[in-house]
């Protein structure tokens, strides 16, 4: 058989018969829900198309000119028209409700999700794990655990898509978008940039590695850079001189940052905003955007001085800043000279501390 057709065509057919797929693998908890809706949509499409085809074909045969030389003029029929208005409307409303439920499922991360930061840039994906693992065009995640991705672009629009998980989120400059998933099957899955982002758009691809929790632990331990994001952020906090104002002393120029993450902050105009990732990022880059009540707007902008990765480090540092004591530690470490504060507990002189180990 192989001798009778061209080898190229032969290879092609073999490849098709062995690799032909109509559906991507279902590798997340969301995938079965998405596929169920997809099958329902296919079903109503097939029924709708069959209805139209049946009408057109039947009428074309029965009322073709040879069989029916005389046309009968009909005005219309309100009853029939109402029927084919209401039935599609009902079907479309089902699609709407079903789609909306799925949408809220995909875009509402559970509270216990493990957060990973992803920065998109022309033309690569950088994943930043809080534990200090940095990856390019790859993302390692454990299965059976909800993972939240906080996504931001350093330049143009990108879009983070993992077809096997049925999730996708636009990655936009200047704002954190989030998406979550829970992988169910260990394996290696495509990661695509789906928003056109310039010359090498089609090379902004990578792999998502879904691993068993044990494998993931081993990987995380083996590929950490040794410094967590918060530790990097702590260094940056000191080197940018943030602690000269945000030092939690009674006459500090800037607000105390301990416990600020997730808190309701009162602004000058009396409004309250939640200090989340986006709020912290905005106030670093554009301090006058949200003027916090009780403080003069004297903070300079850090626009152009801190990379997106650096901002993530700072946000991660502030997120973990759960006591005044930690700020004092930062100041100690950067200035290399102890600051006199009355209520310093024993252990102030410890030279380096990682956020996880400090229990004031």
């Amino acid at each position: 058989m192989q001798h009778f057709i061209s080898p190229v065509l032969w290879q092609f057919l073999i490849k098709w018969l062995t690799n032909f797929a109509i559906f991507p693998p279902e590798a997340s908890t969301i995938a079965p829900y998405a596929d169920a809706l997809y099958f329902f949509l296919i079903l109503i499409s097939v029924v709708g198309l069959a209805a139209v085809a049946a009408l057109v074909v039947t009428f074309s045969i029965r009322y073709r000119q040879e069989r029916n030389p005389v046309a009968t003029q009909i005005e219309g029929s309100t009853l029939l028209e109402a029927t084919w208005t209401i039935i599609p409307l009902i079907l479309f409303m089902i699609c709407f409700v079903w789609g909306a439920l799925l949408y809220f499922r995909i875009y509402s991360p559970p509270a216990n999700a493990m957060n990973i930061y992803v920065v998109g840039k022309q033309w690569m994906w950088k994943a930043e794990h809080p534990g200090g693992q940095h990856e390019i065009n790859a993302l390692h995640v454990p299965i059976g655990r909800p993972i939240q991705l906080t996504l931001i672009s350093q330049d143009v629009f990108h879009s983070f898509s993992v077809p096997a998980f049925r999730v996708k989120r636009e990655v936009i400059p200047g704002r954190y978008n989030t998406v979550w998933f829970e992988a169910t099957t260990p394996g290696k899955y495509h990661l695509f940039c789906t928003q056109y982002c310039g010359t090498l758009h089609s090379q902004m691809i990578g792999w998502v590695y879904a691993m068993t929790p044990e494998d993931y632990e081993a990987w995380a331990a083996g590929s950490t850079s040794g410094h967590s994001l918060a530790q990097n952020g702590e260094r940056l906090f000191a080197s940018l001189g943030c602690n000269s104002c945000h030092n939690s002393t009674p006459n500090a120029h800037g607000p105390n940052l301990a416990h600020v993450y997730g808190a309701h902050v009162q602004l000058k105009d009396g409004q309250f905003v939640t200090a989340d990732d986006a709020f912290l990022r905005d106030t670093i880059l554009n301090p006058t955007l949200h003027e916090v009540a009780g403080y003069a707007p004297i903070m300079p902008t850090y626009q152009g001085q801190v990379s997106e990765e650096g901002l993530i480090d700072l946000v991660e540092y502030i997120r973990q800043l759960d006591s005044q004591y930690r700020i004092e530690q930062t100041i100690d470490n950067s200035d290399q000279q102890p600051v006199q504060t009355g209520a310093a507990p024993p252990g102030t002189s410890a030279p380096t501390m990682t956020p996880g180990t400090v229990k004031p």
């Binding site: 092609f12 797929a21 991507p24 998405a34 809706l37 109503i44 499409s45 709708g48 198309l49 139209v52 009408l55 057109v56 009428f59 074309s60 009322y63 000119q65 030389p69 005389v70 046309a71 003029q73 009909i74 005005e75 219309g76 029929s77 028209e81 208005t85 599609p88 409307l89 479309f92 409303m93 699609c95 709407f96 789609g99 909306a100 799925l102 949408y103 995909i106 875009y107 509402s108 143009v156 629009f157 898509s161 077809p163 096997a164 996708k168 936009i172 400059p173 200047g174 495509h190 695509f192 940039c193 789906t194 056109y196 982002c197 010359t199 090498l200 758009h201 089609s202 090379q203 691809i205």
Partner: protein, 553 residues
């Protein structure tokens, strides 16, 4: 309540001595004409030119995608090619396709007027189109542009060094051509209807153009503003869309889609008008539920303005606003469904023949139904997350735009060809072309739905090898489709000289345009018609014919 229609014997037909084609001769008489019919012909030549440039780009895209690696075209070239394909096909072919050619030709005659309300603005519209077209050709000649037809910021404003400004201005100018056409139609339909031509005696073709014209006049200025902002942002950095200057890149998406979603209806509504005329004529039966079809056009136009954010479901708009836009998207699908069923019901108890325009119209019914229903997939919020920005969406809008609009355009061109030129196209080969187009189309674009669900992103010069088989099918289909589009170009050109003489009403259609000579006089009607019958009144046509005294010479 029954009518017998038999097509007239064309062997006795003669070309009229004087018509709009031979009243004046010379290039100047064409380039300075105010005659809507001549401007329609000018438009038809221009958009055909751009259609084949856009088609050549499509051919390059499909050839590149035969193999998973980017080998025929480098990534940069590929990006420029799909951008050129998108910009040319959307702004230089689909938007003007039916309205500026067939609409321009037929609407004044259908309402019983001598010309459009503003003949000079009509000519200006064509010149603007030509200027925009020359700008676009310059862009292509001097190195192209690689923004994608969507001009997404900040890519277009800060990260590319191609001819973004010229391309943006070309689309800006083309937009005015579209605004002028729409304005002309609105005024003509309101003010220049012949005595007795009430709103509900207008052919549905006029209704759908009226709806599309409202969209053109209200939507296109927003696109113009958006493109000016992009140009200003790129040249002097005003920072409306730049997040580092406090701008919002999502604002661009809102503004762009505020035009570009209604633009989809600008493109499809006139095609729907063609389908109403064609299906009625070849079933010798009035359109089932005239009022429902007329008002569904208006409903599409109105709802069409409030669904734009469904292009942004994954971009981080509020979940609750996504809910509203999804709901409205579902509602806008209903009038389209009404139209499809009403057209199908028009066939019931008709006396159907299968000339080429009817075959294209059947193609439209099938492909537009698929295109519309896959739109429901994308309007369905959770499903959109997986499908958007993949080949699924590429297949969806090609089913609507190419399977729907282009089929309708070709149906219309064949249907009114005898009226425009006075000669028939060759029936046999054109039926073949209609079938080839349908088969080629399905083979090209159906595999892309599967590719999309598998997750293949759009605008990829290179793709993972497991997607190759379906891409090869798609490219194979594209070559069939290419033949389907080249054939009409050849035989329609041939028919200009060798086609059979058509006579005034070769299809025995009821529209006013079929009651005058083919090709028409410059002033359309020897005397202003007085309309006493409704649209698609085949009994009236029968009676008129019976009363006619055959004249010789």
């Amino acid at each position: 309540m029954s009518t017998i229609v038999s097509l007239p014997d064309q062997s006795t037909a003669r070309l009229p001595k004087v018509s709009y084609l031979n009243k004046e001769y010379g290039l100047k008489s064409w380039l300075l004409t105010g005659d809507h019919k001549r401007i329609a012909v000018l438009y038809m030549i221009s958009i055909t030119f751009f259609f084949f440039i856009g088609g050549a780009m499509a051919a390059l895209i499909r050839m590149e995608l035969l193999t998973p690696v980017s080998d025929l075209l480098a990534a940069d070239t590929y990006n420029k090619v799909f951008t050129a394909h998108g910009i040319i096909m959307v702004f230089f072919f689909l938007v003007p396709s039916v309205p500026a050619t067939i609409g321009n030709f037929c609407i004044p005659i259908m309402v019983g007027a001598k010309d459009l309300a503003f003949p000079k603005i009509n000519l200006l519209s064509w010149y603007l189109y030509v200027v925009a077209g020359i700008m676009m050709i310059c862009v292509l000649t001097f190195g192209g542009v690689d923004t994608g037809w969507t001009f997404t910021t900040p890519l277009s404003t800060h990260y590319l060094n191609t001819h973004v400004v010229t391309a943006g201005l070309a689309v800006f100018v083309a937009g005015f051509s579209s605004i002028f056409t729409g304005l002309n139609f609105i005024v003509t339909i309101h003010r220049m209807r012949a005595p007795g031509m009430t709103w509900f005696r207008l052919p549905l073709f006029v209704w759908s153009h009226y709806a599309a014209s409202i969209l053109m006049v209200l939507g296109t200025p927003v696109l113009a503003i958006t493109l000016v902002l992009v140009v200003l942002e790129r040249t002097i950095g005003i920072g409306v869309f730049d997040p580092t200057k406090g701008g919002d890149p999502l604002l661009f998406q809102h503004l762009f889609w505020f035009y570009s979603h209604p633009a989809v209806y600008i493109m499809i509504l006139p095609g729907m008008g063609v389908i109403s005329e064609v299906i009625s004529t070849f079933s010798r039966k009035r359109v089932f539920g005239y009022t429902a079809v007329a008002f569904s056009s208006v409903a599409i136009a109105v709802f069409g303005f409030f669904v734009w954010a469904h292009h942004m479901f994954i971009m981080g708009i509020s979940n609750y606003s996504a809910l509203v836009f999804s709901l409205l998207t579902m509602l806008v699908a209903v009038p389209s469904a009404i139209k499809i069923f009403n057209w199908s019901a028009t066939l019931y108890k008709g006396s159907i023949t299968f000339e080429t325009p009817m075959l294209y119209a059947f193609g439209f019914l099938g492909l537009f139904t698929i295109g519309g229903l896959t739109g429901v997939f994308l309007g369905s919020l959770g499903m959109d997350i997986h499908l958007t920005e993949t080949y699924f969406i590429v297949a969806h809008f090609h089913f609507v735009m190419v399977g729907g609009m282009l089929m309708a355009y070709l149906a219309g061109v064949h249907f009114w060809w005898p009226k425009i030129t006075g000669r028939m196209y060759p029936e046999g080969v054109s039926r073949l072309a209609a079938v080839i187009t349908f088969v080629g189309f399905v083979l090209t674009f159906f595999p892309q739905f599967i590719l999309g669900y598998l997750g293949m992103p759009r605008r990829y010069a290179a793709y993972p090898p497991e997607f190759q088989v379906l891409n090869v099918f798609s490219s194979a289909g594209a070559s069939v489709l290419g033949i389907g589009y080249l054939l009409p170009l050849l035989y329609l050109t041939w028919s200009l000289k060798y086609g059979k003489i058509a006579g005034p009403n070769p299809w025995q259609a009821t529209g006013l345009e079929w009651q005058i000579q083919s090709p028409p006089l410059t002033e359309n009607f020897a005397e202003t018609p007085i309309v006493t019958h409704e649209a698609y009144d085949y009994e009236w046509l029968e009676n008129t014919k019976a009363r006619e005294v055959p004249t010789v010479g």
